[in-house]
Symmetry: C2
């Protein structure tokens, strides 16, 4: 019988491993719990970048070149908006825009984000369960040398250029896990921390009251988002350096100390295995770069085998 797995995920890297897991596990055995700290309001729309990336990826619709939005996309709305002098800093494709509109319309009618996500992901053709970490509003702020910035202002408008000093997840103290999150964690044989940014993708999920606690006693396997001091995508390595942490896979494993049963890291970082073990996690080295769909599947199988060994 297949394991029941909960994957905690942010955007691109997390979505890729979630897709690998979805290729291996029956859909009813996989729940992906997604960061919503990056959510924001733009043009009157509720935009959930990580939920969208996960859903588009699981639906086979994701744009692999950009890491966000849809592969089959046009930009006529954006071009016309720019010509009218509208705000053009956040790019919204014509088809992608429909998802934000429909989510916003349903939320305005009083539906919850998790209910909307369930229905829209089904419409997109997603088979595993995708849940926002919470139906409540949590907003990530990045504390920088240029002041405290809303996440998208830091990430998109400022292109991660300001020096990071810390993070704040506004609203997280009173947020409840979305319906289904604690149930899925309760019945999971393993929890996978996907290769997402530890500070701005995974920490917001873990800070939702009840979620970290639900991991106690579980087999928790993390997959590194860092190889040889470089982030596979995004600002994780830059953030680490700015926070005074060495941008190594072991440092990230250490960030999750007390939580991890196992840590999957790249073969190129094998020399750090001992530091990982000292951080309390069993280290497993393999090729963690996911370039193709087959890479995702292979890594997912290896992560599940590793988790199974840690369970037994």
């Amino acid at each position: 019988m297949a394991m029941s797995v909960v994957a905690l995920a942010g955007g691109v890297g997390g979505a890729k491993l979630a897709d690998g897991l979805a290729q291996v596990l029956p859909p009813e055995r996989l729940t992906v719990v997604v960061n919503t700290g990056d959510d924001f309001e733009h043009l009157g729309l509720h935009i959930s970048p990580d939920l969208d990336t996960v859903c588009y990826t699981l639906a086979g619709l994701a744009n692999r070149a950009t890491g966000w939005g849809r592969a089959d996309e046009s930009w006529h709305f954006m071009e016309a908006l720019k010509a009218l002098g509208g705000p053009a800093w956040f790019h919204l494709g014509d088809r992608d825009l429909a998802l934000h509109h429909e989510r916003t319309r349903r939320l305005a009618q009083g539906e919850t984000l998790s209910s909307v996500t369930r229905q829209l992901s089904a419409r997109l053709g997603v088979r595993p369960t995708v849940l926002p970490m919470s139906d409540d509003r949590v907003r990530t702020y990045v504390q920088t040398d240029a002041g405290e910035l809303p996440f998208q202002a830091y990430f998109v408008a400022r292109a991660c250029e300001p020096v990071v000093q810390g993070f704040r997840f506004d609203g997280v103290e009173t947020a409840l896990p979305a319906p289904g999150v604690l149930e899925a964690l309760g019945s999971a044989n393993a929890v996978i921390l996907c290769p997402s940014n530890p500070w701005v993708s995974l920490d917001p999920i873990l800070e939702v009251p009840g979620i970290r606690q639900a991991l106690a006693g579980k087999v928790v396997v993390g997959v590194s988002a860092i190889i040889r001091g470089q982030a596979l995508k995004g600002p994780a390595a830059k953030m680490a350096r700015e926070l005074g942490i060495d941008a190594s896979t072991a440092a990230i494993a250490d960030h999750f100390r007390g939580l991890l049963s196992g840590w999957v890291m790249d073969t190129q970082d094998a020399a750090e295995a001992e530091r990982v073990q000292n951080a309390g996690a069993v280290a497993h080295t393999t090729d963690i770069v996911m370039k193709t769909s087959a890479d995702r599947r292979r890594l997912a199988e290896e992560v599940l085998d590793f988790a199974r060994r840690l369970t037994g």
Copy 2:
């Protein structure tokens, strides 16, 4: 010296004559005052169908086949929205959507509709002044055998099928003419009632307190939207019959009794000229069908010549 002209307009027919007038008059001599009774909220957007048709037409961007929206358009947003189960009854092109978004964004920031219209029409390349009839909210309701329906519900969702009994312009009693409307009327040598629907395009404008009064003593020339009992576009003839009025150009001229100095009607309706004279307007017959850009210009020149003769 050119005349100063104010044109009152609804959608397609009105926009065509406005375009003809714009070809003939210097831009500073033409103000188009547009019906906003058709405006509505959809997908959280403020949509102004008549303002859009007028602006797109004056900018040379209008879709001549549909009579609404832009000529160079794609429908990817709409296709994706439909696939997600969203409301697809009102069609919004990808480029057109940007205009609604930018208008809505600016209105939400506290700008007035007339200010937003001035800026966005300039961005589109419109040279004459285009003004909404009012910055205040006026909403046309159609009283039918299926109950009272918001205009777009009647016009688009129900395809003008219910039998019309009357109209109500919600909010019109307390609406103020948009800034510039009374000033433009005050200095106009002639006011043109464009070939728009008398009940749902022109009446809402004329019902805004102060506008009808400002026409007193002016040369007012109406152009028929009806030829041989048929509307050139839209439900005007059907409405007339349902209201117990004969769907003739003379009946429409009679609808504006007391307001008109002159009435421009099609040569095919020449037999009705006497009825028009009895309704108090000088009749002028010509070919009023505007198929080409040259037709618009020719009719505009003829309407202006007629108005000039009535002035003198």
